[in-house]
């Protein structure tokens, strides 16, 4: 009798477990997703069902979150104790997340996994803060010089500009003006802290010192870099002016053939493919011109794991599943980003179809550098943008703009040191 009862109880328990209720739920937040829904289709219909099938009883709940409010969502979710298990963040996040205890160091798991060497170093370094690795790179965007071969040749250049002097000279030769309006810009450069950081690194400068406690923006290298950037706008006048006529509305400047060169990532190529495919063979790729050294800046999104996750082993399995070469290639294909690991580049058909994309990979591998990790990146980004804007719009000299901001940055960094 007792045996029968136990059997009945056992059956009831088994039935209860098999009733469709997951034994573990993982929260996954994805921030980079395609506007045509292809990322969601890939993850929701293909990859995650495969992961769930391989892990019976596990359910992955995915949220697709805009970059516009990821910071707020993350802060509120961590404060409220409802943080995701795995979440995607950008190139400037590792310092802040690590400093506040919002990302789990993964070094032991990574060592056991043994696949780090397959990733491009510049992509990998995006996830490292003070020697510890806090995530796995998910997509990369190296910024290079895109140029029109035909226009450059006509300007007397047999090779892409290799130095700052050549860049300024070639841009001036290719610029065409109609009165005060530029009709063909020598080089399309947005007013952006990212462009300044490229010039800064090429000139051997740094944003702050090695341990992130003092600004280095008042160094001669930094001032010279911003001066050159400002000169391209104001002295050489080779950048696009407001109201520059574009074709067909909102087509980007380079793809609409209104700029002879630009600093851009692989989206520069995609724009040409989309809006002016006939132009593609005429588009060349080169590293951004050097001054003291050659650097290609690489911006990488990565997957982090929450230290408060109750399912860290499963979360790690999900992360490594998404990092499998085919899965990583498929994800990057939906977005036209460069997969951050070599085997995924080989597995990605879209990477093989366009010769320029292979060049991006080669330049990223040779000269790639990621942003240095620091907890205050968001504030630095805003402050740096103001300093750059002040110099380009000539409300301050480059030297004054950088000296003023450098003082502010020192105060900002000193606050953390005091804590």
């Amino acid at each position: 009798m007792m045996g029968r009862l136990l059997l009945l109880l056992g059956c009831a328990l088994l039935l209860g477990c098999g009733g469709g209720e997951p034994t573990a739920e993982l929260e996954l937040w994805i921030t980079d997703f395609s506007s045509d829904n292809s990322t969601r289709v890939l993850l929701d219909k293909q990859l995650l069902p495969r992961f769930e099938a391989a892990h019976p009883g596990v359910k992955v709940n995915t949220q697709y979150i805009s970059w516009a409010y990821i910071d707020q969502k993350l802060a509120i979710s961590f404060a409220g104790g409802v943080q995701p298990d795995v979440f995607q963040v950008g190139a400037e996040y590792v310092g802040g997340l690590a400093y506040r205890g919002m990302a789990q160091p993964l070094d032991d798991r990574i060592a056991e996994w043994g696949q780090q060497s397959d990733f491009f170093p510049a992509s990998w370094n995006t996830c490292v803060y003070q020697g510890k690795t806090y995530g796995l790179p998910y997509l990369s965007a190296p910024r290079v010089l895109l140029y029109r071969r035909d226009l450059l040749q006509r300007a007397g250049y047999a090779h892409p500009p290799d130095t700052w002097e050549e860049l300024a000279d070639a841009a001036q030769r290719m610029t065409v003006r109609d009165g005060t309006v530029t009709t063909l810009a020598g080089i399309n450069l947005p007013v952006s802290w990212q462009v300044f950081v490229e010039f800064l690194w090429e000139n051997g400068g740094q944003i702050f010192n090695e341990d992130g406690t003092r600004s280095r923006l008042d160094s001669p290298e930094a001032i010279e870099a911003l001066q050159f950037y400002s000169d391209l706008y104001n002295q050489y006048q080779v950048c696009p002016t407001a109201g520059m006529p574009t074709i067909g509305g909102s087509i980007p400047v380079f793809a609409s053939q209104k700029a002879a060169m630009e600093f851009n990532n692989q989206f520069g190529i995609r724009n040409v493919q989309k809006y002016a495919p006939a132009l593609l063979p005429k588009v060349g790729l080169a590293p951004t011109p050097r001054r003291k050294q050659r650097v290609v800046s690489v911006y990488t999104d990565w997957l982090a794991m929450s230290p408060q996750s109750k399912h860290q082993d499963l979360a790690w399995e999900l992360m490594t599943f998404l990092m499998e070469p085919d899965n990583l290639a498929a994800y990057n294909a939906t977005l036209f980003f460069i997969p951050p690991r070599r085997s995924a580049v080989k597995a990605a058909k879209f990477m093989q179809e366009t010769s320029q994309l292979q060049e991006f990979v080669s330049l990223m591998d040779q000269y790639g550098r990621s942003l240095p990790a620091i907890p205050e990146w968001f504030e630095i980004r805003t402050g740096l943008q103001s300093a750059v804007s002040a110099a380009i719009y000539q409300t301050k000299t480059p030297e004054q703009a950088l000296r003023d901001y450098s003082r502010e940055l020192d105060e900002l960094l000193a606050e953390r040191v005091k804590q």
Binding site: A75, A79, V191, A242, G243, M244, P245, E376
Partner: protein
């Protein structure tokens, strides 16, 4: 005696509203006041700093830092939107007060932007201001036969705030107009009749009757506009995100940035209390100025 007996019942009926007010307004206000003296990143417990956040704000103001710029921009926005918005609303209300056929349609039309979402309106105006293919540059080029070169309205630090002011005046015009319209309709008709019989012309009737009797309405609109302008955020966030070169960053934009991007809740709370003090002061000044010389005709 009877009133005292009914008091518990009154409080019972009031209690749901009071509870909500307590939980969602009173407690957060005091919590924010406490946090303004702390360092708080929402992840870790607040750490007491004393007046350091306020000292940093003062230092920022004296060094002409970002908070100083946000204060300056907020005042610029207020001085740009309030007089212009008031004058246009009064002019429009005078026109809409006429007894014309189909006036309801006109009134509704002018009120439509008020009920439209600020984000949607901001997006539309971003297209209007677009330097390459925006409607404004197109119209200016057509009207000047190409003599006016295209302008980067939102990307030029010298024009961005003016562009936001123009859009905000347009968006808020209907609200002020409706208030003025109500004020106009409250002025007894016989005052105008008597003035007309006495030989007063239209300007004199406006100057001696309409404007003085609209003073309470103007005072109300002024106070509401001062409070609204001090809290400007959505259009700035959507159209420029405070740029270019901090030319459009405002106090609330800085509060948002510090609280949710930099996770400096304490510093942001200190800013919020400075904003509170500013609004309080401006409202007092406005009330004092508008209370003087109020007129009443028997």
């Amino acid at each position: 005696m009877k009133a005292a007996r009914h008091q518990p019942i009154a409080y019972a009926f009031l209690s749901p509203g009071l509870a909500l007010f307590l939980v969602f307004t009173v407690i957060p206000v005091f919590a924010a006041l406490y946090l303004s003296f702390c360092r708080y990143d929402v992840i870790h417990s607040p750490a007491w700093l004393g007046v350091r956040n306020y000292a940093r704000l003062w230092q920022d103001i004296t060094n002409h830092g970002v908070f100083y710029l946000s204060l300056r921009n907020t005042l610029q926005y207020a001085f740009g939107t309030i007089p212009l918005g008031l004058a246009l609303a009064l002019a429009l209300a005078l026109l809409l007060n006429a007894r014309l056929k189909g006036m309801g349609v006109y009134r509704t039309t002018y009120y439509l932007p008020v009920v439209t979402s600020m984000v949607a309106v901001a997006m539309v105006w971003m297209w209007i201001y677009d330097p390459s293919y925006g409607l404004l540059n197109y119209l200016l080029a057509r009207l000047s036969s190409g003599r006016i070169t295209p302008q980067a309205w939102l990307a030029d630090p010298g024009q961005a705030m003016a562009a936001i002011v123009a859009m905000s005046v347009w968006k808020g015009l209907g609200y002020n107009t409706v208030i003025y319209l109500a004020g106009l309709q409250g002025i007894p008709e016989h005052l105008y009749e008597a003035a007309t019989i006495d030989g007063a012309n239209a300007w004199q009737r406006f100057r001696r009757i309409t404007w003085p009797l609209l003073k309470p309405t103007t005072a109300f609109i002024l106070v509401v506009s001062v409070i609204g302008a001090s809290q400007v955020f959505a259009q700035v966030y959507v159209m420029t995100n405070g740029g270019p070169n901090n030319a459009t960053t405002t106090i609330v934009h800085q509060i948002f940035q510090n609280a949710f991007s930099y996770l400096k809740m304490g510093y942001a709370s200190a800013m919020a209390f400075v904003l509170f003090a500013l609004i309080f002061l401006l409202s007092l000044i406005t009330l004092r100025l508008t209370r003087a010389g109020q007129v009443e005709y028997a």
